[in-house]
Symmetry: C2
Subunit: 441 residues, 2 copies
């Protein structure tokens, strides 16, 4: 057999169920799928291949899975920081969104975000925003894998001026993008239990049930939300969502910071999924999710970056390091959230949480070939005793050298092959100049 | 006047007392000092210079100051993680130190750490370890600025087998390195109030008082230390150190996590300095320093990376982002520790904390020329509304393009000019292979 692509000479971190690491191994890829993963022996010739990547001295690992982001928000990266949440939202983000979010700006900023994600080793995103059609166009253009959710909220929103039609808009988006490309899985994104009515949530969930699409929702994110739901519904956000039929195995609860024991048990029993966005949750001072307890219960917990306006980057390597360190200091236990556990969140568990566990998140025969190569021949990654330690505690996005998505070489030697990055940055810089001129910032 | 070096066309972040930022400016350098800092006008020609750096589209800022590290410990980067503190120290770090720390390994690993620091924009380090002579040789070789402290501890230590001679060894180190080069300021580093006796601490402080050298000490780092000092001395670590005459304006308290109101008042009244090492303190689950309260009192608080064995890298940009985010989530207030405050910790306040405030830490006429240039033309730094926001929340070490120390161009376009980085990595990799072969790891 002649492979389409062979990646060899690297330490292969498979993230398979046994967490196998091959000190020196190769990955054979054909028709977009992983066909062989094996240790390399000096006395056995490598398989033939039409194209080869020599990962000498480097690490071959699954592409990272960003389980929660709002790709278009790179447009507002660093527009306003260090502010109380409501002032930040009401005086900066919401006004900027209402003035500057258009199909064109969504496309340009999403392409920028996708470029940033690929440059930092992310091969799959789970996104939720408005004009999600245009996000999908950008994801398709650059060649990433994604679960993309059209936003649903009970206020006038970009592209959906009449909130009564918010679920219809999501239905149309899902119909339009079903079957277009195997890399894009359409879904929907209800903003939260306090910005969507029970009726809206039920209608959206019914739509997602029809197709099996992922239902994303921000939930139990802040103390204020918990207090509001307590007052309105006399229970917790999770119990409220469970009562109205939202909590099941096709739902992704984003943030999920304020969960009590009953909530965690409910999430476990319903096989529901969670996305934690550590850096953003810290920067907005939302709180610290009880990640070790969630994982201990067997709940699939993935990592996400959240949008650029509150992070302010999309580097999942930094998110891994931040998550491990925050949980250690929060619990007072340095053995909590070891490197392998955090790596699983950013790969195989993240894929499972967004419903793509059978396709991506590990290097295993039969999965689609979403693979990245890390260059470890750098001072900050020298010496190397344990590759996973470096990936979580010392590596960052710029250490990613090559990115393969669905078997296709999307980035080689840090050059993205599917788009012109300079052009994309130029387009967003022009939009940014308009925003700066048009805002009182 | 013809400058030796002119850096132009960039956004100049001065970190001067007014926090002036020049949207487009230049910095003129001669004889190692900053001679002119000015906005650039299209109708006025730039000053003449023998060498120029065009920082187009980038940021010109002071080099970062790492106020606490143990440079040789890059040798043990990632040797062991995710362990309880005492198991990590007693089963991994101390045995590895006793077997593998030699003058040669200290030199090689220090050179590697210095290379990593320069590659991530740090121009000045405050270090404490054993065989500090060899650390100094490495710092001198690469051309960094440093306050270097020979380690003092009441146990047999590398290079100081007889603890009775620990202060003598420090005295000899200080004598040997005084006046050798203006870039190196010798000092001493007492390990902690629980590993050095009162007699040792007093003798070391008396030595530092003679010369005005910086007295570094880990203090109030863990709950266990606080309990031990409480039991032994019936007071807090800070009150104990104050009682024996350690707390003054030439002392740097490292970590300083467990300070009560009386301790903070004592530190303020004595004009004592603090170094906080957020990433390491999180990873070891030591605790969260009360940074906003310390800064509010006017105490000079700098940032440090700590050693590579507990970080596991030396990137102060990531340390800035981590510190801002951790303090926000810890206090529940997103307006705490804004980007400018954190930048001051990593530059001008850090320089002040280690006694070099008149020499480095800001771009001001008369200071030595320790300057770095950041390349912001990258997706993760696009668009740019506020440069300081990007530096704290989105940039990282690899965005640093050029490094000037004491007026000398040490790194240009990410190539370090004073050492062969490949050779340095090779040397440490060989040592790492011995360690891996010799340890049960």
């Amino acid at each position: 057999m002649i492979y389409d692509l062979l990646i060899h000479n690297g330490t292969v971190i498979t993230m398979n169920p046994d967490f196998d690491v091959l000190d020196k191994g190769f990955v054979g890829i054909s028709n977009g799928a992983i066909k062989e993963v094996a240790p390399q022996r000096d006395d056995v010739p490598l398989p033939e291949a039409r194209e080869r990547i020599d990962a000498s001295g480097g690490i071959i690992m699954p592409g990272l899975v960003n389980t929660h982001t709002h790709a278009p928000m790179s447009l507002f990266r660093g527009l306003a920081d260090d502010l109380p949440l409501m002032k930040w939202l009401n005086e900066y983000i919401f006004p900027a969104e209402s003035r500057f979010i258009t199909p064109e700006s969504v496309y340009a900023a999403s392409l920028l975000s996708c470029a940033e994600m690929i440059l930092s080793g992310t091969t799959c995103l789970c996104d939720g925003y408005f004009f999600e059609d245009n996000v999908a166009e950008a994801v398709h253009k650059i060649g990433m894998r994604g679960v993309l959710g059209q936003g649903v909220i009970d206020f006038p929103a970009p592209g959906v001026p009449d909130p009564k039609k918010n679920v219809d808009a999501a239905e149309r988006f899902m119909a339009d993008w079903t079957g277009v490309t195997p890399l894009i899985t359409p879904g929907l994104f209800c903003h939260s239990p306090y910005t969507c009515s029970e009726q809206t949530l039920k209608a959206a969930k019914s739509l997602s049930n029809k197709t099996g699409a992922l239902f994303q929702i921000h939930a139990a994110e802040t103390k204020a939300e918990v207090a509001e739901i307590r007052k309105r519904d006399r229970t917790t956000p999770i119990q409220y969502l469970d009562r109205i039929g939202i909590i099941d195995d096709h739902t992704l609860l984003v943030h999920a910071i304020y969960l009590d024991e009953t909530d965690m048990e409910c999430v476990r029993r319903r096989n529901t999924n969670i996305s934690v966005t550590t850096e953003s949750e810290m920067k907005l001072a939302s709180g610290v999710a009880r990640v070790p307890e969630l994982i201990k219960r067997g709940i699939p917990v993935g990592l996400g970056t959240d949008g650029c306006a509150s992070n302010n980057d999309l580097d999942l390597f930094q998110e891994m390091g931040m998550t491990a360190r925050l949980q250690k200091v929060q619990t007072g236990d340095p053995s909590v959230m070891d490197a392998k556990t955090v790596m699983a969140m950013a790969t195989v568990k993240g894929a499972e949480a967004i419903g793509l566990g059978s396709l991506t998140g590990s290097i295993e025969v039969g999965k689609r070939a979403d693979v990245i190569v890390i260059d470890t021949r750098k001072p900050h990654l020298t010496p190397m005793y344990h590759p996973c330690s470096h990936l979580v505690y010392a590596a960052s996005g710029p250490d990613v050298n090559d990115v393969i998505i669905d078997g296709k070489l999307i980035m080689r030697g840090r050059n993205i092959k599917t788009i012109d990055v300079q052009e994309v940055m130029g387009a967003v810089n022009r939009l940014g100049a308009d925003i700066q001129a048009g805002s009182a910032i």
